[in-house]
Amino acid sequence: MAIEVRIPTILRTYTAGEKSVSGSGGTLAALIDDLEANHAGIKDRLIDNGDLRRFVNVYVNDEDVRFLGGLGAELKDGDQVVVLPAVAGGAS
């Protein structure tokens, strides 16, 4: 069984251009490890110093994972995960 993960344009170099891939894992951290096994390099773009990168948003079934426990957020088969880089910047 699988969890569908929507991949943003900027990370599709790791998924051979695929817009979505499937993975598995009982938590977001486990899912990311599973993705890394098949798409080497992607983990480093999502995680920094053991935590989700500040300017990467991950949603589970449309909910920002930061409100679901971050990397510890529990996942189950059939969940929809979306990865979206923040749209941010500024003069500072």
Binding site: T9, N57, A86, V87, A88, G90, A91, S92
Partner: protein, 146 residues
């Protein structure tokens, strides 16, 4: 080169003026692969800051889901600088996450909320590299425009 309609250009400038002294931000969506900036979507600057902008994370997801449903992509990502020039900052470059988009910067430093010329410039930002591009303002996007 960025080809943009006068109406879209004016909408971006109006948004930047209205939100001055905070940074204004938004996108112009268009059909995937078309390079046609057709639909201006003003976003709220969740940072509410004169030196930083960030789309609210919930609104960001709604925006992208809407674009996916319509087979659109962000053709332009725009924001304003309100005290500095319309050139990508180190932060802008570090956080640029749409390699296919035109990054439009508007500076309202001269006239703030008031009428008057604004700097309006466009860039590609890919792998940390900034490339400024020409802007062509047209009345309407022709059917063959790309």
């Amino acid at each position: 080169m960025l080809t943009i309609t006068q109406a879209t250009y004016d909408a971006i400038v109006a948004h930047a003026r209205r939100d001055h002294p905070d940074e204004a931000c938004g996108i112009v969506a268009g059909p995937e692969g078309s390079d046609r900036p057709e639909r201006v979507i003003e976003m709220i600057n969740a940072a509410g800051s004169p030196t930083f902008y960030e789309f609210d994370s919930t609104e960001l997801l709604e925006l992208y889901k809407e674009m996916w449903a319509r087979d659109e992509e962000p053709v332009i990502v725009y924001h304003s600088h309100t005290a500095t020039e319309a050139y990508p900052s180190v932060t802008d470059v570090k956080l640029a996450s749409e390699p296919g988009a035109h990054y439009v910067l508007v500076s309202t430093r001269e006239h703030g909320n008031d009428e008057g010329p604004v700097e309006f410039r466009s860039y590609r930002i890919v792998d940390g590299e900034i490339t400024e591009e020409e802007i062509r303002v047209v009345e309407t996007l022709s059917s063959t425009e790309s």
